[in-house]
């Protein structure tokens, strides 16, 4: 039998249900591999002992009716986990241990999942390379000194390196799909309102959405089924009929209309991305889909709009980290002095930059010109998609404008870093579901992803197209385990 850690979630579940392997064996395998992979710096907090204990308890009293029977899962450190430190990758929450559980993680434990540990991420999910984390950058298992993407960089690295069978990330402007694309894995951002935001450290409330990350599409469908739920504790959670995504998963996408937006052909886009996209179009045709050229005219405004809306919300969301109630407190001469020292020491450069931008765009005298205008443009971007969906069932684009870059390559150039999100942010602004699947490699053999964007609440079609194309693409991630040598 192949190594336990290289099995898909679906295969693990099957083996556990057939009693071929125990939950404890699975936990041990992933923990063992994680222990040998410290160089990747994927974990912020390990929960290994507790995980082993819980896996034993599962084996003693197994419940095979659960959807994730005794499956160990590491999660992004943005999800609050009861009695397990939750840092959001920030010094300001360095010592923070919640007394509560996020709805999304609770859903996973309710279905038999066991917490393996908390995975590194960009500070407060602000970043595209995991370089803004207080706990240091993460190595991409694809090659040394390559970024794993961000902000869910610890998640994508742990997943690609087989340190966890599946994981969950959060996606505000591409933070699931871009790291998935950089590591040759699958990442799905569900429709805004699908997964509860309760207990997730907030970055930009109107954009944040949790979602599954996995080695293949089927695994994402299994995990989505578990984490997507209506939650009264989140006022923006939506009560719609959720599919049984995994059992309804099909490769029959014959006759589906897939749109190709011309505006995603951006200036200076590398040839290999253009080629990948063309290849994707051919695969989609092979699967029986009909390809239709469409226009999303306001696409070029998406990035500036995003970089107004997201920092604005973030500047307010992060005001609660003031040293008064929990987290880091630096001593000061007065209340204001304490605030200034705490927040200066507690937040990193990128977070401070975005708080400054956000504070600026909300200031009186600037609000109308920036925030209000951005909200109007956001409506136009959404309308673009609404109109496109009169003609097509889904949209196919590249996930990112480039493959993974070297650590440090862009960390001093925020604008070039922000450009990474160019294909992913419109999806967040419109609240749509989007998936990134590995579809090829660049000249360095670094993975490249394709993005499939769906109609609101139509995760099933997105998954089906991805599932179908995945078979045709037949991508294999090559991981040399270089970090273990």
């Amino acid at each position: 039998m192949t190594e336990i850690t290289s099995l898909s979630l679906f295969e693990l579940i099957k083996n556990i249900k057939e009693k071929k392997i125990s939950s404890n064996e699975v936990a041990k395998s992933f923990i063992d591999r994680s222990e040998k992979s410290k160089k990747l710096n994927a974990y912020v907090t390990e929960n290994f002992e507790n995980c082993l204990q819980l896996s034993k308890e599962f084996d003693n009293k197994p419940n095979f009716d659960l959807k994730l029977p005794g499956i160990p899962i590491a999660v992004k450190d943005l999800f609050c986990t009861n009695e397990v430190r939750t840092t959001a990758g920030s010094n300001i929450l360095n010592n923070f241990v919640p007394t509560y559980e996020s709805t999304v993680t609770q859903n996973i434990w309710n279905e038999g999942g066991i917490l393996l540990g908390k995975l590194n991420c960009d500070e407060f999910a602000m970043g595209s390379s995991n370089e803004t984390s207080f706990f240091g950058n993460v190595q991409n298992p694809i090659a040394e000194d390559l970024v794993p993407g961000g902000s869910s960089g610890g998640s994508s690295a742990a997943l690609a390196a087989n340190l966890t069978p599946v994981t969950i990330g959060t996606d505000t402007g591409g933070s699931i799909r871009q790291p998935a694309s950089f590591t040759g894995t699958v990442g799905l951002k569900p429709t805004y309102g699908s997964c509860s935001r309760y207990g997730i450290v907030a970055f930009a409330s109107s954009l944040d959405q949790a979602g599954p990350m996995s080695k293949d599409v089927k695994d994402s469908s299994i995990l989505l089924e578990v984490i997507s739920s209506f939650d009264k504790k989140d006022s923006t959670s939506i009560d719609f009929k959720r599919n049984n995504y995994s059992s309804e998963l099909t490769r029959n996408i014959k006759g589906l209309k897939i749109g190709i937006p011309k505006e995603y052909r951006v200036d200076g886009m590398p040839d290999e991305i253009e080629k990948l996209w063309k290849k994707g179009i051919e695969y989609a045709k092979d699967c029986g889909a009909e390809i239709i050229d469409i226009s999303l005219p306001h696409t070029s405004y998406a990035l500036p709009t995003y970089y107004i809306v997201a920092p604005a919300e973030a500047s307010s969301n992060l005001a609660r980290y003031d040293g008064v109630k929990y987290g880091l407190r630096s001593s000061g001469e007065s209340l204001i002095d304490m605030y200034e020292k705490t927040r200066s020491e507690g937040f990193g450069e990128e977070v401070k930059r975005r708080i400054m931008i956000g504070t600026y765009v909300l200031s009186s005298g600037y609000y109308d010109a920036y925030y209000l205008k951005a909200q109007k443009v956001r409506q136009l971007i959404k309308q673009d998609f609404d109109q496109a969906y009169n003609k097509v069932d889904a949209i196919l684009t590249p996930s990112t404008p480039s493959s993974a870059f070297k650590i440090g390559e862009k960390s001093n150039d925020p604008v070039s870093m922000y450009l990474n999100d160019i294909f992913t942010v419109p999806v967040n602004l419109a609240g749509l579901p989007g998936i990134s699947i590995p579809a090829g490699t660049d000249k360095n053999n670094y993975p490249l992803g394709l993005q499939i964007i769906g109609k609101p609440f139509d995760e099933q079609t997105v998954l089906n197209i991805a599932y179908s194309m995945e078979e045709k693409i037949n991508y294999k991630n090559y991981i040399s385990d270089w970090w273990m040598q």
């Binding site: 006022s235 307010s316 992060l318 209340l335 909300l362």
Partner: protein, 495 residues
């Protein structure tokens, strides 16, 4: 209570040299919504609990915590809007008002800025000169902050978050008020309406009702508004009035000296009886309001509003009208009786218990006279009255049917205070029943005339003022119980 009614002045004028100034006042009243739980969390709102015992993760703004609107508080705000004859907005939006303070855990207050839940309305004030209408600009829902305590620990400020997240209604008036007395009447009327509706208990000692007072002055007759100053967070009517008088005079002095008034926020120092600058317009916070992305816009259907309208009880203005029509009390008496819901309830219960042969005049006089005096003396509310409406009605009926005299009734009233005793029982136990048997009274009077023969003769000879002497003697002999009317009749006959 009558003091207020009789001394009111609708105008407060300040005279200087050649100029007469009037004061223009607008109020932003913060009324705590009567609700068991907070605006966006399920924590209790009970007053007086141990510090930080009524704080949820949401109230303390823990990471990842989200607000969920309390539907009951929304209903309370709508009901209050209906009570203010205001427009209820079908769509309103919660905004974040961003500022840092130790007792503001989120770093922002959730409030309503551009789109409040309630729009324009009005309130009628009963002033001695007649009724006056005061415009309501808006009513919006917002969270209260926690409490910073600076005087317990010498080095640290302590924070109590029990109040953090409690629902407040901010009721903004138009600048329609012209005197401290109108402010008094306005606050009392607002309080009365909300207490009728059960939407705010109006308890100013517990901070359930506070106000920011906007004051400006102008030459009387002018229609332009002067530069205003806002006096923050004043928590009693008396202090509001004192602050207005101080502030209006300060502004007039500045104008008379040819100086400009700075638009600023001021604080009222209750000990020194003066207002002090807190921050100028230049230093004003930039609150960076924006719609709270954690909350959807509040959408209220007409059906929902209609349903709430059907639940609205009779309000003070309607009740006053009905009291005048149905019970034939004077407008002045009606105003007093309806001013507080518990007084109105008490009065109506007395009326009901008096039965068919009811005497409104007696009821009004006993409640606003004897009973109010006792309540004032004991400094208690009518809801805690030591004499129940039922027993007061009995006492009034005993007077009405001649069982006791008004004078004896006062004695009995005093005795009733000690445990709400049934007046009938006091009458029987103390033998205070009025003597109305003509034969017994005739015998008594015969004896008096006999004992005072000379005086009787003098009376017959024309010394009429001696009649009073005989009445006094008869009352004295009966121990005060003799029916005075019968005494008069019999004496006239016998003498």
């Amino acid at each position: 209570m009558d003091a207020i009614m009789s001394k009111n002045n609708s105008e407060y004028l300040i005279e200087r040299k050649d100029n007469v100034y009037e004061v223009v006042i607008g109020l932003e009243v913060h009324a705590q919504v009567t609700s068991n739980s907070k605006l966006f969390s399920s924590s209790s709102t009970k007053f007086g609990a141990e510090p930080n015992t009524q704080v949820s993760l949401v109230d303390a703004a823990f990471p990842g915590m989200l607000p969920v609107i309390n539907e009951f508080c929304v209903k309370q705000a709508i009901k209050t809007g209906i009570g203010l004859k205001a427009k209820i907005n079908n769509k309103s939006v919660f905004d974040r008002k961003n500022y840092f303070y130790a007792d503001l855990p989120q770093g922002y207050q959730i409030s309503q800025y551009k789109y409040p839940i309630v729009g324009e309305g009005n309130v009628i004030l009963d002033m001695p000169e007649g009724q006056k209408q005061v415009g309501i600009e808006r009513l919006h829902l917002e969270q209260d902050a926690g409490k910073s305590i600076h005087d317990v620990d010498p080095r640290n400020t302590l924070v109590d978050l029990n109040r953090s997240g409690v629902a407040l209604m901010e009721i903004v008036s138009k600048p329609d008020l012209r005197s401290p007395d109108e402010v008094n009447a306005y606050i009392k009327k607002l309080r009365s309406i909300m207490r009728y509706l059960g939407t705010c208990d109006g308890n100013m000692q517990e901070g359930s009702l506070r106000a920011d007072v906007n004051v400006s002055v102008r030459i009387k007759g002018s229609t332009d508004l002067g530069t205003r100053c806002e006096i923050k967070n004043v928590n009693s009517i008396k202090f509001m009035q004192m602050a207005i008088i101080y502030e209006a005079n300060r502004q007039v002095d500045l104008i008379e000296e040819g100086e400009e008034i700075d638009q600023e926020t001021r604080l009222f120092d209750t000990k020194k009886n003066e207002t002090r600058s807190m921050r100028s317009k230049e230093d004003a916070h930039d609150y960076r309001y924006f719609p709270d992305p954690d909350l959807l816009p509040l959408e209220i259907t007409d059906e929902f509003i209609d349903q709430l309208k059907s639940e609205i009880p009779e309000l003070p203005d309607d009740k006053k009208k009905r009291f005048i029509d149905e019970f034939k009390v004077s407008p002045y008496e009606a105003t007093i009786l309806v001013s507080d819901i518990d007084t109105a309830k008490y009065f109506e219960e007395v009326v009901a218990k008096m039965g068919k042969n009811r005497d409104m005049k007696l009821a009004v006089n006993w409640i606003t006279g004897e009973l109010f005096a006792v309540l004032n003396e004991k400094n208690i509310e009518i809801a805690q009255s030591p004499i129940s409406a039922k027993n007061l009605a009995k006492l009034i009926n005993l007077i009405k049917n001649g069982t006791i005299s008004g004078k004896i009734a006062k004695t009995i009233f005093e005795l009733m205070l000690d445990g709400d005793i049934d007046p009938q029982i006091i009458v029987e136990e103390k033998g205070l029943k009025q003597e109305s048997d003509p034969k017994a009274l005739e015998a008594l009077i015969d004896k008096i005339i006999n004992d005072n023969r000379e005086k009787a003769i003098e009376y017959k000879q024309g010394k009429e003022k001696l009649f009073g002497f005989f009445v006094g003697q008869a009352m004295k002999a009966s121990g005060g119980k003799a029916n005075p009317q019968l005494i008069n009749e019999i004496l006239k006959k016998k003498l």
